[in-house]
Symmetry: C2
């Protein structure tokens, strides 16, 4: 209570200041405090000349105007033509005069349709800055990039930034239901207020579009993969159309999830068999109806024959039949089908990790050109750490898109600070060896490994209607980082953290350095206190909140944590090597060998691939039991270090967000200990060994931890 009193006395001081800062995400546009930097910018930007006249051009201009005014503290003149020097000239290629174009003609060859050029040029002997691209959305991307240069206090004296996104489809997947609950959502409820659409355009729709455009996200799947067919009825399509109209000038296409049985549920047909002509025709007509409303509709995302969802297998057909039928429906309009490979059968409990590969790999080359198979980063389900999914690189004749989970279903909801770009980067950098050394997942995803034209990356959204959008102020960095890596999957997570911190909080290096360090380490911390050494899916069941390694009574074996850790008197871990389920054989030979061999298998994946005795010696000489226990303790200690780092940040940022994060870190610390104590007490039953020196004694019993119930945990 003393802490609480302190907290709210602290917070009560300024009404809604926190709400405002939190709401503005990384687009704070705070006044720049470094005088030298301000001086350079004021000298370098004397006016803005906008050459376009589209809605997107207007957005670019207004964004520059508002950003510069706020950061520099004075208005920048908007000029109707280029006069004097040091103007910002913004416009697409075709709007540029020939004397400007000739300055940058060769640069246009280096960008793709969504790319941009920011360049200092000399025009009639006067220095100017041009922001351009092949179309107005490219210009908008350039504008956000330019603003970010200022937000991060970079020099603008001699600009030559030429950049294009490396992936075509950079989309958020909203698992949002029509009742506004969000499956696995921990930031409030859905942004989409279906009740008030189409006539009420919430300011948040616009601010959402701005935030996405600022990092290059160009698509949004509005609805849950566990889909409701009603979204495809005119009543809802009218609302979807309204959102599409809001998002279009920001370069964002709208997608929907297609419930495979929709022809029955809303079409009045007796079947949804993809080989049935009436069914195919129903989808063709439905696509026509949608495209009439939304000419640039992106297409459908489909979860079929997975976790109870209907699909082509209900009619004895396969995924190829289902996906291609839908592909034909949207192809005339340029739409795509994103078909998820997240499948596992209740009839095959041998090894869930093997099933997506086993089912989908043989389909390589059989999908229509506008189908892209969406594959989760790992073979199970968005765990704190998973080895990369064996399908990456294994279907060279098929577009494969990455599905990351930005919302922290298995990573502490929105109370744990976990910087996910570290996880994303680890996966993207993984070498599949499918075309020899250097065949990274990133090269699969951006199509460069197999010369694939249709490429994509999806992030399961962590966005809700909380004032701060993502529940945790630092979860904003995961949205931001997802967008940046979708644009360029070779970016470094640390560089992204640096950018984000500067845009969101402060450019003071005394703040940036320790807090960046905290972010970078945060992902390893969560692995340590939840699932060290390759453990996985031992979260409590259903809601996935907190530890539940003891759960063993669910109807499907592969829903039980005990299925995944297989702890017994002899040891712990899932043997996926040749002596076990042989899941390792799904990888390229070089990778298979590494994972298969206890000696070469990275210890971070040890219990993912091997059942190992409690006395097994780890590389540091500790026994597995001691090493695991110490890892759990290390995770707790790391959260404490995060708290220490954060407490020192107080003087550099606003009191409100400081307090928010402080409170959340306190929860994370409490829950990290809960994870440590619950898991170690449970596993100790099997190891029969004492906790090693250095591990704190649990303060509660195992029975206590097992008794905890969370009937209203969010997102379930």
């Amino acid at each position: 209570m003393t802490l609480l009193r302190f907290v709210y006395l602290f917070l009560l001081i300024s009404f809604s200041a926190s709400a405002q800062k939190d709401y503005r995400l990384w687009l704070q546009y705070d006044k720049i405090t470094n005088l030298q930097v301000t001086q350079e910018y004021k000298m370098g930007i004397k006016g803005i000349v906008s050459l376009g006249n589209s809605e997107t051009s207007t957005i670019s201009l207004r964004e520059l105007e508002s950003g510069l005014t706020n950061m520099l503290g004075n208005k920048i003149e908007i000029k109707s033509k280029i006069e004097g020097e040091n103007n910002l000239i913004i416009g697409s290629q075709s709007s540029l005069s020939s004397d400007i174009q000739k300055n940058i003609l060769s640069d246009f060859k280096r960008i793709n349709n969504e790319g941009f050029i920011i360049k200092s040029i000399s025009l009639k002997n006067k220095k100017q800055i041009v922001i351009t691209g092949k179309n107005d959305v490219g210009v908008l991307y350039g504008v956000y990039n330019f603003l970010r240069l200022l937000q991060t206090n970079k020099s603008i004296s001699n600009l030559n930034v030429i950049d294009s996104p490396k992936i075509n489809l950079r989309v958020l997947n909203h698992w949002d239901n029509l009742d506004r609950t969000v499956e696995r959502g921990y930031a409030g409820f859905s942004l989409w207020n279906w009740q008030k659409l189409p006539d009420f355009i919430d300011q948040r729709y616009i601010d959402y579009a701005r935030a996405n455009a600022s990092v290059g996200i160009n698509g949004t799947v509005l609805t849950n993969v566990n889909a409701n067919a009603l979204i495809l009825t005119p009543q809802y399509l009218e609302k979807v159309e309204a959102l599409a109209n809001v998002f279009r000038p920001y370069g964002i296409k709208v997608y929907l999830t297609a419930r495979f049985s929709a022809p029955i549920e809303i079409g009045g047909l007796k079947t949804a068999d993809p080989k049935d002509a009436a069914v195919a025709n129903w989808w063709k007509e439905k696509a026509k109806e949608i495209y009439k409303r939304i000419p640039d509709f992106g297409g459908f995302l489909v979860k079929a024959n997975s976790e109870g969802q209907p699909g082509p297998q209900n009619y004895g057909r396969d995924h190829v039949d289902g996906a291609n039928m839908l592909a034909d429906a949207v192809a005339p309009f340029g739409g795509v089908i994103m078909w998820r490979a997240f499948v596992y059968s209740e009839h095959d409990a041998n090894d869930r990790a093997k099933q997506a590969y086993a089912e989908f790999q043989p389909y390589d080359g059989k999908f229509k050109a506008n189908v892209i198979v969406q594959v989760k980063n790992g073979a199970i389900d968005f765990q704190p750490r998973e080895p990369f999914h064996p399908l990456f690189g294994a279907m060279p004749k098929t577009p494969i898109m990455m599905e990351f989970q930005v919302t922290q279903e298995y990573l502490g909801f929105s109370t744990h600070l976990v910087y996910l770009p570290k996880l994303f980067q680890e996966v993207l950098e993984s070498d599949t060896y499918q075309k020899g050394k250097g065949s990274t997942v990133a090269k699969v995803v951006d199509g460069s490994l197999t010369n694939t034209k249709l490429t994509g990356i999806a992030g399961v959204s962590n966005i809700g209607n909380d004032l701060n959008w993502t529940g945790h102020p630092f979860a904003q960095a995961n949205w931001y980082g997802f967008g940046r890596l979708a644009w360029n999957p070779y970016l470094d997570a640390e560089v992204i953290a640096d950018e984000w911190l500067r845009c969101t909080f402060s450019n003071n290096k005394n703040f940036i350095n320790p807090i960046k360090n905290m972010m970078i380490k945060s992902r390893e911390a969560v692995i340590n206190y939840m699932t060290p050494l390759g453990l996985h899916h031992i979260m409590d069941t259903g809601h996935h909140y907190g530890p539940g390694p003891w759960v063993s009574d669910l109807s499907r074996p592969e829903w039980n944590p005990t299925y995944y850790h297989k702890a017994d008197k002899n040891g712990i871990g899932f043997d996926r090597s040749k002596t076990g389920t042989n899941a390792t054989a799904q990888y390229a030979t070089q990778v298979e060998k590494i994972f298969d061999n206890l000696e070469t298998c990275p210890e971070q994946d040890l219990l993912w691939f091997h059942h190992v005795s409690w006395d097994y010696k780890l590389k540091n000489g500790q026994t597995l039991w001691s090493g695991m226990a110490l890892k759990y303790q290390e995770g707790v200690n790391q959260v404490q270090e995060m708290q220490n780092s954060w407490n020192k940040a107080e003087k550099y940022i606003d009191a409100e967000r400081f307090k928010e994060v402080q409170m959340l870190l306190q929860i994370q610390y409490k829950e990290a200990k809960w994870w440590r104590d619950a898991c170690l007490l449970y596993f100790q039953q099997y190891s029969g060994k004492e906790l090693p020196v250095g591990v704190e004694k649990p303060t509660e019993t195992l029975e206590y931890f097992k008794s905890l119930k969370f009937p209203f945990a969010p997102g379930n």
Copy 2:
């Protein structure tokens, strides 16, 4: 689409500006634009001296500091002692020096424990302003009142404001569920983030408390009357405690809803019989447990044996048995039981309107002293208009509290602009005649009619986690107005609207006058286009969104709209007169006579009390059918007038809120026409008459309106 484009181009200009204004409610503290007024305030307020040192005092000081700084544009000095003249001296009675006290000693006799005094005094020949009260919460009320004087540009040159609340319990009822859905909530989801409580204190909790304190609301029932017993478990009580700690310094007590069967569900007992000693003891222990955590816990609100909720009747006991048992449990700690009289039996379909009176009136004088019976304003259920509930004034030996619905369950959700204080005032001014002429409902509620000490008023909250709190910017006025009328049930709705507009938008009379007029007329408009002439409960079923006069197939007769309007070839209306159900007999004789007689019954209540032929001549000479049709048309026209008024307001306020309201009024207009067309087409089947001249032709068929379905309407 053209309109939409216009709208979002307009809105995109400034990121989140709208969100910020919307969020700040009536506590905008905008810079005062009238120079003369600013001059007076700057001269009159040279410094602030705060004499208290409680958390509440700190809040008072910070609020003044922030409000004055923002409104005047410069900082006001905080002084540690009184120096010079024109200081604001704030502190409770005991903190005032004797020379100050002697200036206002007699005033203290005129205020109650929550009252305040704002007074210009002369101290050592220097002019000062004192804001005081008997305790720090009184001072806080005074501070908000003082700030409101400035917000509304009133003179502060010779202050003498002495005011006290006339009602003890001024509480919001949140129908918030533990999964954060809100029954009848149309402003997003529950503010209470149970998942993150107790450790995370959302800034909104604090801002919610501020807003409530600023209008004098001093209690909040956190949970739905359709209650879940889990709220009474330690897991949740810890969270409730955290909220209570936040609200306490704002003078706000926390209450919970008590599920009557909780002793079974969470207590492990076999019964919840209020006469069972173990049950009574369980509640006593539960109360002790709660008060240990929350020493100023307010008590319980109970919905028992109503709409499927458990209650004492499940055990052959009555409401008195149930309420008194709970009252004994909380009495030692000063708690109260608010026991709802909203009951109607499925076994008695004769006239639902009669049942609460029939069941409760005989209990008069039988409840314990700390029980207050909570009665809805009308005998059915929060309709756009209902005659006052016959229980008001009919239980002189029992504390009776008013239950208003601030959320617009039956009044267009959060898309319709309806200024509810007009409705509240109409009810409060109604004369019950229970102690002769002048026995108004307000006098029942404030206890003055029967010299009742325990008094209360409840408002079913319209607050959710939307950025603007209430879904519609003008619904904020209903929260504000409820609070103001709870403080003083004799206030005029027009005066409240004036205050609210000035605090929320602008002091410009060219804005205030037409918009105030729009607000005042808005409530009659919604009656006209929904339920004119005493019609009621003809909303579509379940969600209550839109018209559904045709619904007649529900299991309980009194859930069907046809039960309420009883339209047939002969006419329309519910005969509650002597020739019908004789519900009129529940009123005092004078009132009974007025309602009973077709000649004297106010036409606004005509079809509430009488079944009237289609050819019945209204006072204006129109037939009932023509008059009703023209009323529906008038409602539509009134919304058009509201739109016209609002469109002229554009230049006086911020673009964002202007656009928001404009979009919402457009929805309201569309839905007003929907109501008109659907109801008239439906009733026309019975009247068999043409629409009179002046009523627009429906553009859709009755079958179309009947076909509309809203499976995900909010709040259901």
